[in-house]
C-alpha cells in the first residue's frame, strides 16, 4: 500500500518535472497560433482563437526550405563523417589500448571546454582564406570536429561492452583488422552506432553559434532562420514562436520516433 502510494507520488513528481521542462516549448507552440496582439496580451491569454497567420508570415519570402535543407545536409553530413572517423579511433582505443589511451580520451574531451567564441576570430580568418565562409562544407567540417570527441567517447563505451574474445577468435581464424571491423564490430555495435549518430544529428541541428557567425546568404541553417525573428523593434513574438516551431519540429519528431535508441545511448554505462 505504502509502496504504491510512494510510486504514485514519484510518478506525479516526474510528470510535474516533465511539464516544467516542456513548458517553454508548449508555450512557444501555443504562442505560434496567436495573433501578434494576442501574443503580447497582459495577462497572457490561455483561451483564444487559433490562427495560422504567423506561420504564413514566417515562411513567406524567407526561404524556410533552403534553411531546412541546409540543416539537414549539415547535420547528416557532419554526423556521417564524424562516425567514419570515430569508428576506427574508438576501435583502436577499445581493443588495442596503449599507454596514453586514457590520457588521450580525457584530452579529447578537454577540447569541448573552450567556449566557442574564444576560437571565433582564428576560425573565421582561416575559413575566409580557404574559402569556406558561408559554405555548407565549412559547417559540416566544424560540426563534425565539434561532435567528434563525444562520438568517439560513445562508440568507445559501446565497443568496450563487446567481449574482446569474439574479436580474438576471429583473429585466430585469419581475419584481418578491416574485416574484423566490417563484419564483426559493425553489426555487433550497430545499435550503439545508431544512437550515437542520432545524438550527433541532434547536436548539429541545434548548433547556432557557428551557423550564425560563419554564414551570410547561402549556408544558414534553421538556427540562423530563427534569429531573423528575434527583434528589438516591432512586434514579432508570434512570428518568432512560429519560426521556432518550424525549426524544432523536424528534430523533435525525429527525436521522439527514435527515442528508444536515444535513451539507450544517453544512459549507456550509467547503470551497470
Amino acid at each position: 500500500m505504502q509502496r504504491s502510494f510512494l510510486s504514485r507520488l514519484t510518478g506525479l513528481a516526474a510528470w510535474f518535472a516533465a511539464l516544467l521542462i516542456a513548458f517553454p516549448i508548449i508555450w512557444m507552440l501555443v504562442t505560434a497560433f496567436k495573433t501578434e496582439r494576442a501574443a503580447i496580451a497582459v495577462p497572457p491569454l490561455l483561451i483564444f482563437k487559433p490562427v495560422l497567420g504567423s506561420f504564413a508570415a514566417a515562411t513567406a519570402q524567407t526561404g524556410y526550405l533552403s534553411f531546412a535543407l541546409n540543416s539537414i545536409i549539415v547535420s547528416l553530413g557532419a554526423t556521417l563523417f564524424a562516425v567514419i572517423i570515430a569508428f576506427p579511433a574508438a576501435y583502436a582505443m577499445a581493443f588495442r589500448p596503449g599507454r596514453h589511451t586514457q590520457g588521450l580520451l580525457i584530452w579529447m574531451l578537454s577540447t569541448k571546454m573552450l567556449p566557442p567564441v574564444g576560437a571565433l576570430v582564428p576560425v573565421y580568418l582561416i575559413y575566409r582564406d580557404v574559402g569556406l565562409l558561408d559554405t555548407r562544407t565549412g559547417l559540416i567540417i566544424l560540426n563534425m570536429l565539434m561532435n567528434l570527441p563525444l562520438v568517439i567517447w560513445m562508440l568507445f563505451s559501446f565497443f568496450k561492452d563487446i567481449p574482446a574474445a569474439i574479436l580474438e577468435a576471429a583473429l585466430v581464424d585469419g581475419v584481418n583488422t578491416r574485416q574484423q571491423m566490417q563484419h564483426l564490430l559493425l553489426p555487433l555495435a550497430a545499435p550503439g552506432i545508431a544512437s550515437t549518430a542520432l545524438l550527433s544529428i541532434i547536436l548539429a541541428w541545434n548548433e547556432s553559434f557557428w551557423s550564425i557567425n560563419l554564414t551570410a546568404a547561402h549556408a544558414g541553417t534553421l538556427a540562423a532562420f530563427i534569429t531573423r525573428f528575434s527583434q528589438p523593434e516591432g512586434l514579432f513574438w508570434a512570428k518568432l514562436s512560429a519560426a521556432s516551431v518550424l525549426a524544432v519540429a523536424p528534430v523533435l519528431l525525429f527525436g521522439s520516433l527514435t527515442q528508444r535508441h536515444l535513451v539507450r545511448g544517453l544512459t549507456f554505462g550509467a547503470v551497470k
Binding site: L76, R228, Q231, P232, E233, G234, L235
Partner: protein, 440 residues
C-alpha cells in the same frame, strides 16, 4: 563495399551542392538587414527591383546586436560576405574613417539628394562625403493615453517638461487596475536603456565627457537625472522595469498598461494600428520631454544602407540602395500598403504629401523631431563628440553596455544611484583611457 559507395555518393552530393550554390552567385547581392516592419515590406516589394534590373537579392536578417557584430567582423576582415549592409549613424563615420565603406558619389539627379533631411544626411557623412543612404529615420517622442488624461482631468502640453511628466504619472498610476503612469526603457544595453538615459541626461544639462575626454558621470546633472529616473519608475512604472526594453514597453503600451511612454517614433506605426494595439484610437503624441535644455532631448537614428568596400558587386549594390531609398520606392509602398506604412523620417517630399499627412496624424511631429535633432550640439555645454543618444567613438559600444548595467542595477535596487554612478564613472574612465583618449 556498398557502404563505401554510399559514403562516396553522399560526399558527391554535398560537394556538388556547394558548387551549384557558388555558380548561382553571379548577379546576386547579399544584403544584411535587421528585421522590423519596414524591412518586411522592403523584402516583399523587392521582386519589382529584380524584375527591372535582373539583380537578385539574398537577405540575411539578424537582430540588431548580432547584425552589428556579424557585419563588423565581415567588413573589418574584408571577407566580402555582404554586398549591402544596414547600419546607422553610429557606425557610418567610424567605418568610413577605417576605409571599410564605399563613398557614394554621382547619385543620379532623379534621386534628389537635396530632398533628404539635412540632419539625416549629415549623420551619414564623413569629412563631407556621403557613405550611406537613409532607409528610414527615427527620433524620440512622448506617447500618452488621451482617454486616461481626460478622465483624470489633465491635459498634455505640446512640449512637456520632465517635472510635468512626473506629476502626471503620479496622478495616472492605478496599480489596482494594472495601469502605470509611465513606462521607460530599463533593459541594459547601449541601444536600449542607454539610448533613452543619454537623452534624459542631456536635457538635465549633463554630458558624457568634457572637452578633455574626462567622464562626467558623477556630475550633479547625472545625479539629478538618474535619481529622477529611478524614483519615477519605481513609484509609477511597471514592475521589473529593469527588464523592459523597447519591445516590452511597446507590448505594455499597446495592451493599455502605460499612461505615458517616451520612446522611438517608430512605435507610432504599431500603436496607431488597431490590429496590433488595443489603444489605437486613444493614443496621443507630443514632443519628448525637456528639462533644463532642449539640446539632445530627443535622439536621431537612421537605419541606412551602405556598401562595404569588400563587396564584389559594387555597381549592382549601388543600384539597389538607390532604389530602396528613392521617392519611387516610397510611392510603391504607399500603393501597396497605404501611406501610413511608408518609411518615415528621411525625405521632405514625404512630409509635403497631403495623402501621407492625412493617413499619418503623427507625421508633422516626427518630421519636426528629426529636423531638430542636432547631433553636432547634443548637450548644454560643449563636448568633443557627436551623437545624441551615443558617443561616436568605437569604445562607446563597451562603455554604453557597462554603464547600462550599472543604471539597471540602480533601477532594480541592487545599489544606490550614487554607487551606480561611481561604478559607471570608474569603468568609463578606464575604458576611455585604454582607448587612448584624454589621459594626463
Amino acid at each position: 563495399m556498398s557502404m563505401r559507395r554510399a559514403v562516396l555518393a553522399v560526399a558527391l552530393i554535398l560537394g556538388g551542392g556547394a558548387g551549384a550554390v557558388r555558380a548561382a552567385r553571379a548577379e546576386t547581392l547579399a544584403v544584411a538587414i535587421v528585421n522590423n516592419p519596414d524591412m518586411v515590406t522592403l523584402q516583399k516589394l523587392s521582386p519589382a527591383f529584380t524584375k527591372a534590373t535582373g539583380i537578385h537579392l539574398n537577405w540575411v536578417v539578424l537582430p540588431e546586436n548580432r547584425l552589428r557584430q556579424r557585419v563588423t567582423m565581415d567588413v573589418a576582415t574584408k571577407s566580402g560576405g555582404f554586398d549591402v549592409v544596414m547600419i546607422g549613424p553610429y557606425e557610418t563615420p567610424l567605418w568610413a574613417r577605417s576605409g571599410w565603406l564605399d563613398k557614394l558619389t554621382n547619385l543620379p539627379a532623379s534621386y534628389d539628394l537635396d530632398d533628404v533631411f539635412p540632419t539625416v544626411r549629415d549623420e551619414l557623412s564623413y569629412k563631407g562625403a556621403l557613405y550611406a543612404l537613409p532607409f528610414y529615420a527615427e527620433s524620440s517622442v512622448t506617447y500618452y493615453r488621451k482617454d486616461l488624461f481626460k478622465k483624470a482631468g489633465l491635459s498634455m502640453p505640446a512640449h512637456p517638461t520632465y517635472t510635468q511628466i512626473a506629476q502626471f504619472a503620479n496622478k495616472l498610476t492605478d496599480k489596482a487596475h494594472g495601469v502605470y503612469g509611465v513606462c521607460l526603457r530599463g533593459l541594459p544595453g547601449m541601444g536600449e536603456n542607454m539610448a533613452y538615459i543619454t537623452t534624459l541626461v542631456n536635457t538635465f544639462g549633463g554630458r558624457w565627457f568634457n572637452m578633455k575626454w574626462q567622464p562626467q558621470l558623477e556630475s550633479p546633472a547625472w545625479h539629478k537625472a538618474i535619481s529622477f529616473y529611478v524614483k519615477l519608475l519605481r513609484r509609477d512604472g511597471p514592475p521589473n522595469a529593469a527588464s523592459n526594453g523597447f519591445t516590452e514597453n511597446l507590448a505594455l503600451f499597446a495592451a493599455g498598461k502605460c499612461a505615458m511612454w517616451v520612446d522611438s517614433t517608430i512605435a507610432a506605426g504599431s500603436l496607431y494600428d488597431p490590429s496590433q494595439s488595443t489603444v489605437a484610437k486613444v493614443t496621443g503624441m507630443v514632443d519628448a520631454p525637456v528639462q533644463v535644455t532642449p539640446n539632445g532631448s530627443h535622439w536621431l537614428w537612421a537605419w541606412s544602407f551602405a556598401i562595404p568596400s569588400s563587396s564584389r558587386h559594387e555597381a549592382a549594390a549601388k543600384k539597389f540602395i538607390e532604389w530602396a531609398t528613392s521617392k519611387q520606392y516610397i510611392e510603391m509602398v504607399a500603393k501597396d500598403q497605404g501611406w501610413v506604412a511608408v518609411p518615415a523620417g528621411t525625405r521632405k517630399s514625404t512630409y509635403a504629401n497631403p495623402a501621407y499627412l492625412a493617413a499619418a496624424p503623427f507625421a508633422p511631429l516626427v518630421a519636426h523631431a528629426v529636423e531638430t535633432a542636432d547631433t553636432k550640439h547634443p548637450t548644454a555645454t560643449p563636448v568633443p563628440y557627436t551623437g545624441i543618444q551615443y558617443v561616436d567613438i568605437p569604445a562607446f559600444d563597451g562603455i554604453g553596455t557597462s554603464v547600462g548595467q550599472d543604471m539597471a542595477g540602480a533601477l532594480a535596487g541592487r545599489m544606490s544611484v550614487a554607487q551606480a554612478l561611481k561604478r559607471a564613472q570608474r569603468s568609463a574612465k578606464n575604458a576611455i583611457e585604454a582607448a587612448g583618449y584624454g589621459g594626463p
